[in-house]
């Protein structure tokens, strides 16, 4: 029996090829994702381990998170006076004061930014290599004095920098010229950060704004002393104002921050891989159904010759398992390729990983085989059971068109019930006030509606195909009629084929609805809230030196410039409970550039020195009124009690103000010295031309390439561009599911052509030309694809609508249907059909007429 199975497997290898391709692609996606994210993880693990000092001392701060330079440009610091205190502790081999500041900018002499693009930071560090430094000076000399800099070798080679070249560094206190004196090389993979080394004094002055402070004090343990022992000796000496961590703890903390981010990426990628797997399942299920149907006679003969039901069942399952095994193995290899491709791709986005350090862990291999084999055997199970149930006699007689006329009534009832429930869930999601609950309803609704539509698909095939292919007979004559009827011949098969496409297209449609609604809502929000003519901002939202705001104010034509800052902090209630938040600072005139709805008081009063403007929700919750004292804990660790000067309406104030307190810049800087601007709103002077002022500002700010000047239109364009980028990324990830769906269409057509060989022979005999025959197959494919597109779009619009209503409370107030995307999907589906039909159509048209007529 096993021999017969193997023979049959080999005999059908052509027909199984596409199923295997589906397994292969799904497995490759899963394996590639795991290898890719594992590689990122292990690269950073190595980096963190090599860059962490044996023991490091940092300032303890509850409010500011680690790596929080993103807010306000200030970081908690450690005084240099701590160094002599710890230097003589037994077991300390070396002490190093470390300055490390992310978010700085490195430019060339033409003010072009050199730093890493996108996610990877540009980090300014003091040159003070400890005993196990992660970098070595590989050429030139160490920086000394105000005007010298050493840059990491990756950045140097990427931007073709040469020793002696003039560069410009922009730190917290502003820009200053430097000369490249040396090149430092990492002894582990640097995943893309640009490292700028300055001498210690310069780093303190220029990056931290003070001499005599460090961001951390790094200790090296003496031989024979473990990091833990050293930490335990140091901690009591420095006291509770400081955190003392071993290298392992530091690396773990860093890895945890990264890990959270990585697992988001991993989950998202695996989610898309899951969709691809789902589509693959439907393809394999369909293939095995068709194969079993075609082999009814063969299986019947086996039964007649004495094979038991289980043996027939097993032979189909073994065939599936073989398919899964081969598909998984090949998929694993393709996964390596995919991971390497992803590594190349993100290298262009600024994250550099080494392909030679690709992490292939055993769980990846297990997952790959599990996915491949389980998916194929599970999908082959139903057809196998059906095969084993065939009575030998019926099989030998062979029904002409299997599956036709089988009762669909149960299907209709079950499908309608499931659809009704899912519709209920979606409506519930759209109307529920509780966001978390609505999200669960939405998830359930999406899943159930998908299942319902797949169940009811065969019943929808006839009406929908009559609709989308109704004009075929008129335009294409009998070829059109034949193709449309062929598509309707086996509604189960047609709908199974189309539903694979439906899944991908439904996701495209729903996400495009959400995306365009997001863009539209944002547009509306900008129109409603932003009164400023121009906005100066860093594209990544990072703070910038105050010289930028000074330059803006000094530019002719600028009437009012309102400078904003943001720092981390907390609102402290009377009972001492803290509510973490962002504390916003502003120079006078905020109400002239941003429209804020006030409940009590005015913006001007709220942002007067010593006062604060708070949200109505917080005010109500804590019984605060105009004139009440409110305590704010700032990121520096200092708390201040201010007077409530204004209460804004929390719910209706968009722009993320929420319950964030707003204070005067001068007040903010009183508690957070050196807090940097992160936004400047500009109103042009009366009589000045907005465009002229904009170009004047752009010119004036040329030496600060990290900031851009935008009017409201630019702002909308920027947001739209970001949404489009995200959507395109998602479409790219969905492409694999769609490719597998296309394979499914190819598969169905190819097997249909084989099934209809005699019919094709007859058609050719009575005068159907080769070109006409090809067109017939192509049109059938187009009809199937359009059927999938119609279902997918319908489903996707439903999902999108529910999601938009759900998110309306979160600011997604405008609904926008992206008609251009929808039309593109329909046209794309037709093109997909044409492409899928290429092979099968050619094959059909090449059949020898006589052989075809005589075909059994």
């Amino acid at each position: 029996m096993l021999k017969a199975t193997l023979r049959s497997f080999l005999a059908h290898k052509g027909r199984l090829a596409l199923s295997m391709l589906a397994v292969l692609l799904s497995v490759a996606f899963v394996a590639g994702t795991l290898m890719f994210t594992d590689t990122i993880g292990s690269t950073f693990d190595r980096l963190f381990r090599s860059t962490s000092a044996d023991v490091s001392i940092t300032a303890h701060n509850d409010v500011a998170g680690r790596n929080d330079q993103n807010f306000s440009g200030t970081v908690p610091t450690v005084p240099a006076s701590l160094i002599p205190q710890v230097a003589h502790i037994p077991g300390v081999a070396a002490v190093n004061g470390r300055v490390s500041m992310a978010g700085i900018v490195l430019t060339d002499a033409n003010n072009k930014s050199i730093g890493a693009i996108g996610g990877a930071p540009t980090i300014g560090i003091n040159w003070s290599p400890g005993p196990n430094s992660p970098v070595d000076l590989t050429s030139g000399t160490a920086p000394s004095g105000d005007g010298q800099v050493v840059v990491d070798s990756d950045t140097v080679s990427k931007h073709h920098l040469v020793l002696g070249q003039q560069l410009h560094v922009i730190g917290a206190t502003g820009g200053f010229p430097v000369r490249l004196t040396g090149i430092a090389t990492f002894n582990t993979t640097n995943p893309g950060a640009t490292l700028v080394f300055l001498d210690t004094g310069t780093a303190q002055r220029r990056l931290l704004g003070h001499e005599g402070v460090f961001t951390s004090v790094d200790l090296t343990a003496a031989k024979g002393v473990t990091n833990e022992q050293l930490r335990d000796r140091v901690a009591p000496v420095v006291g509770s104002a400081y955190d003392v961590k071993t290298a392992e703890q530091t690396a773990k903390d860093a890895a945890q921050t990264l890990g959270a981010f990585l697992s988001v990426i991993k989950d998202a990628l695996l989610g898309f891989a899951g969709i691809a797997v789902l589509v693959g399942v439907s393809l394999i299920l369909n293939t095995f159904s068709m194969l079993v149907a075609q082999r009814t006679r063969e299986l019947g003969l086996m039964r007649a010759l004495g094979a038991s039901r289980e043996q027939v069942n097993r032979s189909v399952l073994v065939e599936a398992a073989l398919l899964g095994l081969m598909g998984s193995t090949l998929g694993l290899f393709l996964g390596v390729g995919l991971a390497l491709g992803l590594i190349k791709l993100i290298a262009r986005g600024g994250m550099v990983l080494k392909g030679s350090q690709l992490a292939v862990h055993w769980p990846t291999i297990v997952a790959a085989y599990a996915v491949g084999i389980i998916v194929t055997t599970v999908s082959a199970y139903l057809p196998a059971r059906r095969a084993s149930r065939i009575s030998p006699m019926a099989a030998l007689r062979e029904a002409d068109t299997p599956g036709r006329g089988a009762p669909l009534r149960i299907r209709a009832v079950v499908g309608l019930v499931v659809l009704a429930v899912s519709a209920g869930l979606l409506v519930g999601a759209a109307t529920d006030k509780d966001l978390g609950q609505a999200g669960i309803l939405l998830g359930g609704g999406v899943l159930l509606s998908l299942v319902g539509l797949i169940i009811i698909g065969p019943l929808l095939a006839t009406p929908v195909i009559r609709l989308v292919g109704g004009w075929f007979p008129r335009v294409f004559g009998p070829v059109g009629t034949l193709s449309q009827r062929n598509a309707l011949r086996n509604p189960r098969r047609t709908s199974a084929t189309a539903s694979a496409l439906m899944i991908g297209l439904a996701l495209v449609a729903s996400l495009s609805v959400v995306g365009s609604s997001m863009a539209a809502s944002f547009d509306a929000q900008i129109d409603k809230t932003i009164g400023a003519d121009l906005i100066v901002q860093n594209s990544t939202g990072l703070p910038f030196p105050n010289e930028v705001g000074d330059t803006v104010q000094a530019t002719p034509g600028v009437g009012l410039a309102v400078r904003g800052q943001g720092t981390r902090g907390a609102l402290v209630a009377a009972d001492g409970t803290q509510q973490k938040t962002v504390v916003v600072g502003t120079s006078p005139g905020l109400d002239k550039v941003v429209r804020i709805e006030m409940r009590n008081g005015t913006v001007a009063a709220g942002t007067a020195p010593g006062h604060a403007m708070i949200g109505s929700n917080y005010a109500d919750a804590h019984g605060l009124h105009l004139g009440s004292p409110v305590t704010i804990l700032f990121q520096s660790g200092r708390a201040g009690t201010l007077t409530v000067g204004g209460i804004d309406v929390t719910d209706t104030n968009p722009g993320g103000l929420g319950d964030e307190p707003v204070v005067a810049s001068s007040t903010l800087r009183q508690y957070v010295p050196g807090a940097l601007d992160d936004i400047v709103f500009v109103n042009v002077a009366p009589g000045a031309d907005k465009e002229q002022v904009k170009s004047a500002l752009t010119t004036a700010l040329a030496k600060d390439p990290q900031v851009q000047v935008r009017d409201q239109t630019d702002y909308k364009k920027l947001v739209r561009g970001q949404i489009d980028l995200l959507l395109n990324l998602v479409y790219g990830l969905l492409a694999l599911a769609i490719i597998i769906a296309i394979l499914g269409v190819v598969n169905t057509l190819a097997l249909s052509v084989i099934e209809r060989t005699r019919e094709i022979g007859l058609l050719r005999a009575i005068g159907l030309g080769r070109a006409q025959l090809r067109r017939m197959v192509r049109l059938e494919a187009v009809v199937i694809a359009l059927f999938g597109a119609v279902l997918g779009l319908g489903l996707g619009l439903g999902w999108g609508l529910a999601a938009q209503r759900l998110l309306a409370a979160k600011g997604l107030q405008s609904l926008a249907i992206p008609w251009s995307t929808i039309i593109a999907v329909v046209i794309g589906a037709a093109v997909v059909g044409l492409l899928a039909a290429l092979g099968p159509a050619l094959r059909a048209s090449r059949l020898n007429v006589l052989d075809a007529i005589a075909h059994e």
Binding site: P478, V479, T481, L482, L762, G767, A854
Partner: protein, 259 residues
């Protein structure tokens, strides 16, 4: 339609070999034959005699390896696939032994299919006449699976007639039918010749079926070995028997034209 007495099709020195070199099998060996227009010709012969191959060559379904085939005045051996397809579509009708109809089309759609493919409107009056002659009036909206075997073959005959081809080729048209339905279909083919002036060529191994023809050509080992005008079933059977004995051992050659 070809005028009575003129050859509707003819073959001159027609050869058809399968395979090549040592293993070549000669299915047709220099066959000369004329098919008279407006008559009902039957081609008979035992399995492997080459009768189906002859029909396929005459109908432009198969390529001869030697000699010439004419349909009307058109010589077929130089025609490409496109021209042959058009020839079959416009000038020839087919009735096969089984699987004559497209399952997705109704009887009427099957009947008008060759004309529809050509983009021609089938003459309504003629269609009505054909349908009435074949007694299919109440079956036109049915799909093939709703029809009996005899009805299906009648629809196939109607399809062949509807386009008014120069020639109709019927390949064992009654092979899958019981004798009553078979006789009915043959009767219709006969009437199409007598009443509609059609030219029909039928391949069969059934002497009864052959007796409906005007002329029977006997084929053995790829040659025409005999002809019989105005056949009766008994006369045909008697001839067949004669040459089964004569042909003896050679009849058991491998059969390249699977019947």
């Amino acid at each position: 339609m070809a005028a009575s007495g003129q050859p509707a099709a003819r073959a001159v020195g027609l050869c058809k070999a399968y395979g090549s070199g040592e293993t070549a099998v000669l299915a047709l060996d220099r066959v000369d034959v004329e098919i008279d227009g407006g008559r009902f010709t039957a081609i008979m012969g035992p399995s492997g005699s080459g009768k189906s191959t002859l029909m396929h060559c005459l109908a432009g379904l198969d390529k001869p390896t030697g000699g010439e085939v004419y349909v009307g005045d058109t010589e077929l051996s130089h025609l490409g696939d496109r021209a042959l397809t058009r020839l079959r579509r416009d000038r020839i009708g087919f009735v096969f032994q089984a699987f004559n109809l497209l399952p997705t089309l109704t009887a009427e759609e099957n009947i008008t299919l060759p004309g529809d493919i050509a983009g021609r409107r089938t003459d309504a009056a003629w269609l009505r006449q054909v349908v009435e002659t074949l007694n299919l009036g109440d079956r036109l909206r049915h799909r093939p699976h709703e029809l009996s075997g005899g009805q299906q073959q009648r629809v196939a005959v109607a399809r062949a007639l509807a386009a008014r081809p120069q020639l109709i080729f019927a390949d064992e048209p009654t092979g899958n039918l019981d004798s009553r339905s078979g006789a009915e279909v043959l009767g219709f083919l006969r009437r199409s010749v007598d009443e509609l002036g059609q030219t029909v060529v039928m391949v069969t191994h059934d002497p009864n079926a052959a007796s409906f023809a005007d002329l029977v050509l006997f084929l053995a080992d790829g040659r025409i070995v005999d002809r019989l005008e105005g056949p009766t079933a008994d006369a045909v059977l008697e001839r067949m028997r004669r040459f089964d004995v004569r042909g003896g051992s050679q009849v058991t050659l491998p059969a390249p034209d699977a019947d």
